[in-house]
Symmetry: C2
Subunit: 409 residues, 2 copies
């Protein structure tokens, strides 16, 4: 509708991000976002689950929360409790599980009950850009702690907590992604988890454990969650089905003790997560989740192999990377001359989308010549072609990589 304009600008909230640009479809070579492999969506099994559960329980759609109350669809919560016990040694009942609209809502709810502007939280030095952005939006300071191959470094965490304590600052939580860390894709060892929890106790700082990728280790195994260990009362645990079944479903979960959960429920005034999503996923998972995962992991691993081969071919040894323990992204280090924020801007104009490392690191600087490449959604052909194009653009902008002389084919 063409209409005269009214100036909303003087009425806006004093602190907003820049307006969104109109959506014009996904870029042709899309290496960003948690999208997944389209052929791995279990369409037939979701369809039969939908048929069963809608026929059986469809009339419960007449009530907010179905017949399950504010925590969410009870059969799905029961599945999650059993799954967490089997996979991650977490002992919890279905009454300690809250269904959220993706793990993103878990982030928002925890932030809502714990964070005031000006507060401080601890994050991993390289961390999920969406979590860092949320903290910025809330006016919350975050202090990054370096990682190694076992995850968040306990020695560095201790120093950070001591330095903050010396300044009279008690951080609100330690946010970490222990299993398939985002973006480094490492798995925090069990011993390291124990150390982090001990520091949490010593300094009186809760752990905010984001295990949204934990179903996607190549081995299928994962260490016990910190929520499973002594000290679990200090741990708020979130997880997701976005990576293991489908991102568009918008279903995650949160596990916490009642003093936290009762606060979260008091501010969660959204009327619940989408009911058909919950019902169909709950019905699906009981019958099919465990058989689905190995197939998905194999598909993702094959795409990752393709990505790594393509990187070696296009960038030679100028793209450095470790082999992820699982997941849907590869963290890549380029020579220091390459500013990946600029690379991302230029590449997008040619239809190649990447996450510049500055957006995925707490300090920005340490990610300046790094990038994150998501590989689950594009086809292998698109991965190959996209990486080749990225290398060409990088060469044009930064003179690197040198003309392709592949060394590791």
């Amino acid at each position: 509708m063409s209409s005269p304009s009214f100036d909303f600008a003087p009425l806006l909230h004093h602190s907003l991000p820049a307006p969104a640009a109109a959506w014009t479809g996904f870029p042709a070579f899309n290496f960003v976002g948690g999208h997944n492999d389209a052929d791995s969506i279990p369409v037939a099994d979701l369809l039969s689950a939908a048929g069963r559960v809608i026929a059986r329980e469809g009339s419960t759609l007449a009530t907010y929360g179905l017949s399950s109350g504010p925590l969410g669809y009870a059969p799905l919560r029961a599945f999650i409790a059993a799954k967490l016990a089997a996979d991650a040694s977490v002992k919890c009942s279905a009454e300690e599980v809250l269904i959220t609209s993706g793990s993103l809502q878990g982030l928002d709810l925890v932030n809502r009950i714990l964070l005031n502007p000006g507060d401080t939280v601890i994050v991993e030095q390289a961390s999920y850009g969406g979590a860092l952005n949320r903290l910025r939006g809330l006016g919350v300071k975050f202090q990054g702690v370096p990682l190694d191959h076992d995850g968040l470094r306990a020695d560095a965490l201790r120093s950070t907590l001591e330095a903050l304590r010396a300044r009279g600052v008690r951080p609100k939580y330690i946010y970490c992604i222990p299993t398939v860390q985002n973006p480094t894709a490492t798995v925090m060892s069990e011993a390291r988890r124990r150390e982090i929890l001990d520091l949490s106790e010593h300094f009186g700082v809760p752990v905010f454990e984001d295990e949204c990728y934990a179903d996607l280790t190549w081995s299928g195994a994962r260490p016990p969650a910190m929520r499973a260990m002594a000290g679990a009362e200090r741990v708020i645990h979130i997880g997701s089905f976005s990576k293991s079944v489908a991102p568009a479903l918008r279903l995650g979960y949160l596990v916490a003790d009642w003093p936290v959960m009762s606060r979260i429920l008091s501010v969660k005034n959204d009327g619940g997560a989408g009911a058909l999503d919950q019902m169909i996923l709950g019905e699906y998972c009981l019958a099919h989740f465990n058989a689905h995962l190995p197939r998905l992991r194999a598909t993702l691993r094959a795409k990752l192999d393709c990505l790594q081969d393509s990187l070696r071919e296009a960038f030679g040894d100028q793209a450095q990377f470790d082999d992820p323990a699982g997941g849907i992204f590869q963290w890549v280090t380029l020579p220091e001359a390459v500013d990946t924020s600029r690379l991302a801007q230029v590449a997008l104009q040619s239809g190649v989308a990447i996450n510049p490392g500055a957006e995925w690191t707490s300090d920005g600087d340490s990610g300046r010549h790094r990038l994150r490449l998501c590989f689950a959604h594009p086809s292998k052909e698109t991965i190959r072609e996209g990486v080749l194009r990225l290398a060409e653009i990088c060469r044009r902008e930064f003179g690197l990589p040198h003309q392709a002389t592949p060394k590791h084919r």
Copy 2:
């Protein structure tokens, strides 16, 4: 899990509502909440829609936003645009419609981009308790404007806006529920809508138009939305499928010009509304929505008749009420001696849940002896028995109504 306790209290946000109580099921006589008639959920048609759309488009679940982008599932948006044109004379394209997780998310998004703590907004003197609670939580002042049978009173709105202007206050918006007002269930006349929009222009204050009940007028007709009138650029319009199809679905929509929409999209970082909810509802609506509504309206009208008969029987002429133009609730005035907040507390102990008028009025006082009764979910038997119990409890607590001598059977 029984665990030692950790004291989260010193870490909590400085301003939180009281912790939630554990959920113990719905009360036996539940006259609160936007629940709907369970037998009216179109289970068979939802089921066939699910079968078609999952088979056809299930693999699009692999991407956030499906293939439709951040505004939500495109076929559902197209349906909404066509429906708003046909029913409410709103001219908008599917690209001006945002799918939200219920109209509640619409409230949250508009509040997020427009409101700072300390701001002022205009509301109807009797209004939706959930909207008022949100404003309280944000530290926003709201000023109530009285209603009459044609809706928000234009003369009173002008006085209020003048008084605020004299104090240098520019309210951020005028929030109103024009069609089947909550809780009075009146319909704002077309002439009154025009007057409100003219005042909006004169004082430079946008209109926030909540039409979430507009599908449920008994006649099936509704006046043009303010979003359809000259001045629409100042109107943010929201609506919902919670009342017309099923509350558990969590699907609503928002219509606004791009300067507003682009701001909303920039803060809407939830990954989208539940995809199966969107897909199945979109598929369902194209084939069945228009045929479904008359059946639902007839069912609701019959339950309302039962409620009104029950009120006359149990309260005689001591319960005063107007006949709603549609919807799922009855606004009732009791004698001034009755404090409905206390009545609600006592009644709940006997399994009878009501909305006390103080929670549904901007000043509290004008609702002190009023209550809202939702009638869509309970059966007619439950309605009759619940109203009888409520009258008994009221008599025990307040000596009113006098022993039943029904006058209007």
